[in-house]
């Protein structure tokens, strides 16, 4: 997975954000709430690289400080949701009969309940909800999908011979699940984790934007909340464009990581992706229905006749006739 171009790109972007989150205090040119009343709603300048808000706060600094909130919530929610999803999904997949059915029903109920009001209601129980609480709420509304996938996967693992072998050897149940099954689920767990992180980041920013999550927890969503509340759309682009782009970039990075995981789990996807392109370079067309013919000795200089074919239409022969008689 770490040799996959996509995951590397994703991990690098994520790494940058993580560094920003950790070292935000040192990097940020100003405090996130430092107000400069002489520079209200300034477009980007050398003093304020990304301009200022209606109170003269430095947008760049807010973005830098906001990174931490986004990442902490995203990852905490991801961890919690994954723990729930694994606990419920794997158990539901391993046990049978009514136990499995009721856990599956529970999962479905969580899929059916509208998440947003649930979040609002739970969040409203607490004064000044902490990041942990917000993450938990996002996790509670976000684990069900992963739980479902894990259940299905566990069900297919359950009857695999190596699990049967472990049972026949007399391994205790917990060990079968923890030692024999989980390692084979890691890729799926990882991808469901990354998926919930993306969902949590989008959820957090959306909730912050519509104002149901305390705006004291500075994050990119709150920047957009303030921007929208203070009429930044559409004129003060510097105020809302960077935050939105950061969210998209983080989401993109996480998606890239997930691509990598997907390709790791399913090597066919890999061959479909990068290797397919490599093959194209070699002159193959994957949609061809006839095997390429490329006589070895003749092709020494050229890259083979196959490459000369026009990639336009699929009815195209794709293979030029290298008449061998």
């Amino acid at each position: 997975m770490f040799r996959n171009g996509k995951s590397i790109a994703g991990l690098s972007i994520l790494g940058v954000f993580v560094l920003i989150a950790i070292f935000g205090d040192w990097i940020a040119p100003y405090g996130p709430l430092d107000k400069d009343f002489t520079a209200l709603r300034q477009p980007p300048s050398w003093v304020h690289w990304l301009g200022t808000t209606h109170m003269g706060e430095d947008v760049l600094s807010q973005i830098i400080y906001g990174t931490r909130g986004v990442l902490v919530v995203g990852f905490t929610a991801g961890v919690i949701a994954t723990i729930i999803a694994v606990a419920i999904g794997v158990t539901a997949g391993y046990v049978t009969g009514w136990r499995s059915e009721s856990l599956s029903a529970l999962t479905n109920v969580f899929l059916v309940i509208p998440g947003l009001p649930l979040i609002i209601i739970i969040a409203s129980q607490y004064e000044n909800p902490s990041l942990l609480l917000i993450s938990s709420v996002l996790a509670i509304t976000g684990w069900a999908w992963g739980g479902r996938v894990l259940r299905a996967q566990t069900m297919s693992l359950r009857n695999r011979d190596f699990i049967q072998a472990a049972r026949a050897n007399g391994e205790p149940l917990y060990r079968i699940i923890a030692v024999e099954m989980l390692p084979n689920l890691t890729a799926i767990i990882a991808s469901s984790f990354v998926g919930t992180v993306i969902a949590a980041v989008l959820g957090l920013t959306t909730l912050a934007f519509i104002g149901v999550i305390p705006i004291t927890n500075l994050n990119w969503g709150t920047i957009l909340f303030w921007a929208q509340q203070n009429g930044a759309f559409p004129d003060f682009w510097w105020w809302y464009v960077p935050a939105g782009l950061c969210i998209a970039l983080l989401g993109m990075a996480l998606s890239l990581i997930n691509f990598g995981i997907d390709e790791y789990v399913n090597p066919r996807l890999r061959s479909a992706g990068e290797r397919a392109r490599a093959m194209r370079k070699k002159g193959f067309k994957l949609s061809d229905t006839a095997t390429a013919v490329r006589p070895r000795p003749a092709a020494a200089g050229t890259s083979g006749p196959g490459t000369s074919s026009d990639p336009g239409t699929s009815s195209d022969p794709g293979v030029t006739n290298a008449g061998i008689k």
């Binding site: 049967q164 472990a166 049972r167 026949a168 050897n169 030692v179 024999e180 084979n184």
Partner: protein, 268 residues
Amino acid sequence: MTTLEFKNVSKKYRVRGSGELLALDKVSFTLTSGQTIALVGQSGSGKSTIAKILTQLERVSSGEVLLDGTPIPTWGRPLRRYRQSVRMVFQDPFASLNPAHTIRHHIERPLRLDKVVPADQVEEEVFRLLNRVRLSPEQTIDRRPHELSGGQRQRVAIARALASRPALLIADEPVSMLDVSIRLEVLNLLAELQREANLGVLYITHDLATARHFSDEIMVLHHGTVVERGKADDVILRPQHPYTRALRDASPDPEKHFAVPTTPGATS
């Protein structure tokens, strides 16, 4: 001397949509250590079901299974002790090893679980077992299953089954997924180990030829009932039951085929 006795064992499966399926119907037989019984029969005749009952992956619906005259335990520590004496080699060496773990893990687990040897000798024992199945321990121990060939994997599976020093070994079509050229090697290895350790072996197969050469007795299973049982050669060469005869006649046998000159391509 360990004896395992199947007494009027029946097994029903509940099948979604169509009620129950009688997979085994009053099957009785005895397996003693030092003896090899081949269990042959068509697909779906209930061969694997017998194996699963023996390893207690499934419970009997009626009848009993006795180990040295006492009913086998169904749970807890006694079950584990029972399982220690009855081990199984699965059909598909590609599926029966956990892709996430090394060979070491696979062989160590039963050793530790059943405390076959003191903890400090586990490593040594793993080496011994691998050597016994003719795998080079140094080269294989830290590899994962996907780095081994099918035959090597099946050897690991055999080593794992032998680790707990069982009295009885159940081999459910142990070579049908293997390449022709290595099938005999694996079977020969099994046969050798069986002799050395005085194992009782239940050899499940649909290949009559290997059944005949590998086992002392052959038991023919048809639709969940034992239709014929006897000395290996007798069953193959002088089958009594029409089903056994049909099975034998269906198996390709070039010797017979070329014994009578025929027009090429036509079947006998």
